[in-house]
Each structure stands twice: as C-alpha cells, then as structure tokens.
C-alpha cells in the first residue's frame, strides 16, 4: 500500500495510469461499445472520418467500422502484451531461481541457454516461431515470451544469489525444508521485485512486437489487431491515410501510456530507496 501511495505521487505514473485505464476500460467493454463483429461490413467502403455520426471514424476498404476495429484491436494488443509479460516473468523467474539456487553446472548450463536466446534478435525469433507453428494468438504470445524471458531470468538469478546466503534461508534449511520448497516459497517471492520493475517495459515491447508481427501478416487472422489494420491501410496510404494513421496513433498512445506507468513504478521504487535507509 505504501508503494501505491508513492506511485500515486508520481506525475508520469498518474498520467500513464489514466491513459492505460481508459484504453483497458474500452478494451474490456468492447462487446458493449461495439457489439457487432468488427470484421463485418458496417457501411459504405472508404467513408472518411467525422462524416457519419453512426460511424464516427469512418470505414476501411471493405466498409468495416474503423472505431469498432480500434476498440477490438485494443483488446488484442493488451491481452497479448499482458499474457506475454506473465509468461516471460514465469519462465524467467523459474529459470533464474533454479540457476541461482542450484549453482554449479545447472547454473552454467541455464545461463548459456539464456545467452543463446539473448543473441538472437527478439523479433526474428518471434517471426521464425510464429511462421513455423502458424499464426494464432497463442503462438504469438509464446513467440514474444520466448524473446523476453532472459532479462527477468538474469535479474531474478542475481537476487537469488544474494538471498540464498541470508539467515532466513539457513533457518529454512535447519528446519528441514525441501530445497525446492526453499527456492520457490522462501527465496523466489523475495527475488521478484527487480523483475516486476521491468514488467511494464516487457508489456510495451510485447505490444510493439505483436503489432509488427501482424503488420507483416503473421497475426491471428480471425481477430482485429492494430498491426493488421495498419498493413491493410498501407496500400491506400495515398488516398485514405487515416486508415493506417489512426491505428498507429492508438498504438503510440498505448505504448506511451505503458512507458509512463513504468516511469511511475520507477519513481515509486526510487522514492522508497530514499526514505528508508
């Protein structure tokens, strides 16, 4: 709770929270705000924005409602971003804890695997994975998480290395706790903070990668995403620039909001460092 209060004092954090809360609300309420299928034809094709009150942002090449697309696109973006972040943190914290706690050969092997994942460009990795297993929202999430777990793994491992020498770990050993239980119930919860601090940045990167993947035609074909909308609008850049500009703007605002939240989290953590010795 103290953390929350410090967070609310950060200007950037509040601005980010406001942006993300608005977009998240829109995404959650999508079935009520835009009840019709966003892939269905809603009016005449290529209706410019702000001309029809029923279709405020106009329609695309096939006459699909742009506003509905944007709202449903927010759903896809945030869902993929959050799911990829959770998956990356889960993989990263397990690998980091095992490596740091076990030490020796296990540590060495796990860290070399981490190195191997880190030298492959994340986007290429995601591209290869999705193209091999076929585009669906599940493979997109896993593909993004595959490139994102290495940083949390390193952070958690570093924390575990310093924690495992502490007294409470020695105490747990003395009372005969199983090593796995010590690692995951005693150490891991205490080692998560630095990884959680970068959670927002992982979400932002995931949203951007998802957009780029669907821009290249590797998104789930059955749902609307901003990346797909931009890719479809791209062919009409000359005549109807709004088709690719609007979803791009939505993307920028979302990512900016996530960055601001991350700044707020950083401010809150830093302030704690200053007030408590």
């Amino acid at each position: 709770m103290a953390f929350l209060r410090r967070y609310l004092r950060s200007g950037a954090g509040m601005a980010g929270l406001l942006i993300i809360a608005t977009i998240a609300l829109g995404a959650i309420a999508a079935p009520w705000l835009a009840p019709r299928d966003p892939l269905a034809i809603a009016g005449p094709a290529l209706l410019p924005p702000f001309t029809d009150a029923r279709l405020p942002l106009g329609t695309d090449r096939l006459g699909r409602d742009m506003l509905a697309g944007l709202i449903h696109g927010a759903r896809a973006s945030l869902a993929v971003g959050l799911a990829a972040m959770v998956a990356a943190l889960a993989i990263g914290s397990v690998v980091g804890t095992v490596a740091g706690f076990a030490g020796g050969l296990v540590d060495e092997a796990l860290m070399r695997v981490t190195d191997a994942f880190q030298v492959v460009p994340r986007f290429l990795l995601a591209l290869a994975f999705v193209s091999t297993l076929g585009p669906s929202i599940g493979t997109v999430v896993i593909a993004i998480a595959l490139g994102a777990w290495t940083e949390p793994a390193r952070l958690v491992r570093a924390q575990v290395l310093s924690l495992r020498e502490r007294d409470f770990v020695a105490a747990a050993r003395v009372i005969g706790m199983h090593p796995a239980e010590i690692a995951f119930r005693e150490i891991l919860p205490n080692a998560l903070t630095p990884a959680l601090a970068i959670a927002a940045l992982i979400v932002a990167a995931a949203v951007l990668i998802e957009a780029a993947l669907s821009f290249l035609g590797l998104g789930d074909p059955n749902i609307v995403t901003w990346g797909t909308m931009i890719a479809e609008g791209r062919n009409l850049l000359r005549t109807a620039p709004a088709l690719s500009l609007l979803p791009g703007l939505a993307l920028v605002i979302t990512v900016l909001g996530i960055y601001l939240v991350s700044e707020g989290i950083g401010d809150a953590l830093e302030r704690r460092g200053r007030t408590t010795p």
Binding site: P121, L124, L127, S131, I230
Partner: protein
C-alpha cells in the same frame, strides 16, 4: 552457446509442418510417388532425426548453411548478397541515433530539471513509443507522397545506369527515410540513457570540485560530465544491436529494401525453413561480433577495464 542455437534452429526445422519435398510439391502442383521417395532420399530426408542432425552439423562446420527452397539457391550466397544493404542501413541508423541522441542527451543533461531537459525527456519518451514501421509509413506519407522530396521505396533507382558518385548519392537519397524510421527510436533511447547517466555524474564529488575551481559551465558539462557519462551509452550500443537487426526486418519490408531483414520476411512468406534457420544463425553471429567490438571499444574508452585483465 552457438551449439545451443544450432540445435534450436534444427528443432525449428523439425517442428515445421512438412519438409522441403512437400514444399516443392506444393509449388510444382504434385508429383509421382516414386519421384517423391527418390527426392527424399536425395536430400537425406528419409533418415533418422539424429542422422539428419549429424548431416546438418557437418554441413555447418563447412560453413554450408543449406539450400533455400523458395529461391532455389544456396542460403549462404543469398545472405551474403543481401547483407551489405542491411549493414548500410543499420550503420547509418546507428550513427544517426548515437550521434544525435548523445548530443541531445547532453543538451538535456546539462541542466537537469530545466525546461530544455523536461521538453526533451517528454519528447523522447513519445518518440520511443512510436513503432518503427508506422513511423516509416508516416515519413513516406509526408516526404514521398505529399512533398515528393525523397523516394519512398527501394535502395536505388532501378535501371538508372548511374555509376560511381552519382549512384552513391542515389542510394543515400533512398536511405534517408528508412534510416530515420529505424534510427529515431534508438535516438530517443540514447538520449534518455545519456541524460540519466549525466544526472548520476553531476552528483559525484569531482564535479563539485570542478565547480569550486571556477571552471566554466561549458567546460564542466563537456569535459567532466558528458565524457564520463559516455560509458553506459556504449554498453547500450551493444545491447541494442540485436534489437536493431530485428527492427530492420520490418523497416526493410516497409521500404522494399532488398536486404537481410526483408529476406527474413520473404523466407516466412515462402515457408523456407532452411533460409530462416540460416538467417537466425547469421544474425546471432553478427550480434556476438558487434558485442565483441563493443567490449574492445569499452576497454579503449576506459583503460581501467583492460588493465584489470592483463595484470
């Protein structure tokens, strides 16, 4: 580490639905069952997984990356042909983002908390949030479609017959927009890293001492603060090399530049597993090489680092 990667790319090839012969059959519209078996035997596809892994490793040891299905050419040759364009694009984008980013970072970090600082901080955060491919489209819209100042696609004017300097100028004109689209995100990143590194240095004692000596502010900013804040920036350079290579995939697709990144999306479109695997291996080797270069640069910039190892 590279061995792990090789195993991973092999696994990727195994996971792909259908093999090379299937892909060929799709493109040629079917074929005789006897011929299919013959082809499988020819490419060694009828053997066990381990035997194929051995063949794959042996080929890699000879720097043979395999045969591209979509292009029907050796993967190595294809990559070697496309790489220079991407290196040019990345090099220019890196120079732009590092140069301009660190200069603006100094401008922001010179007076922490000033109006310039706050404007640049907010501006860089906004810039950092823009996806490169969308920025590319916006740049094309303004500078190629509306203003018609710069070409919006390709690497050079096709069949222009230009040679020497004229050709170089032509390529440079074609590179302006993609370099901007790829580089601006990293510009924002370098600006932010420079700024926060300078904020750290301002707190150090030797800066207070320099101020007490009565040195001019300009001299303190450049000689004392900015110079010592440069190291984290160089670290960032190495870390972002991989990201930039990934970013070039999308940027090259947007601007239709026949480079390494576009080859990756073409490999995806053509379901060309061997090509994709080769691209991943080559990019990993490139990232390792860049990081090695950064390490060397680091030792050169900060003599303390190299000396520690030597003694």
């Amino acid at each position: 580490m590279l061995l792990i990667l090789v195993l991973a790319t092999f696994l990727l090839l195994e996971l792909a639905s259908g093999d090379a012969v299937d892909a060929y059959l799709v493109s040629s519209g079917g074929g005789d069952a006897n011929l299919v078996a013959q082809m499988r035997q020819h490419y060694g596809l009828d053997q066990s997984v381990l035997a194929r892994l051995w063949i794959y490793l042996a080929a890699l040891a000879h720097l043979d990356l395999g045969w591209s299905l979509a292009f029907d050419r050796p993967v190595g040759a294809l990559i070697a042909e496309r790489l220079p364009n991407t290196l040019m694009l990345m090099g220019a984008a890196l120079a732009l983002s590092f140069g301009l980013g660190s200069l603006l970072g100094v401008a922001a970090g010179a007076r922490p908390g000033s109006l310039t600082d706050r404007l640049l901080s907010v501006g860089s955060l906004a810039l950092y949030a823009i996806p490169g491919f969308w920025l590319g489209l916006v740049l094309v819209l303004f500078f190629a479609v509306d203003l018609r100042w710069l070409p919006g696609s390709g690497i050079e004017t096709i069949a222009s017959g230009k040679t020497g300097l004229a050709r170089a100028a032509d390529i440079a004109r074609h590179l302006v927009l993609p370099v901007a689209a790829l580089g601006f995100i990293y510009l924002a990143l370098f600006l932010r890293v420079m700024r926060s590194a300078m904020a750290e240095v301002w707190r150090l004692d030797f800066v207070t001492f320099a101020q007490a000596k009565g040195l001019s502010r300009r001299r303190i900013v450049w000689r004392h603060v900015a110079r010592n804040a440069l190291l984290p920036l160089v670290t960032m350079l190495g870390l972002q090399a991989a990201a930039m290579l990934g970013g070039s995939v999308v940027i090259e697709s947007v601007f239709a530049i026949p480079g390494f990144g576009r080859l990756a999306s073409e490999a995806v479109a053509g379901r060309d597993g061997p090509l994709l695997a080769g691209i991943i291996l080559v990019s990993a080797v490139m990232v390792i090489a860049i990081n090695l270069a950064v390490d060397l640069l680091y030792a050169w910039l900060d003599p303390r680092i190299g000396a520690g190892h030597a003694s």
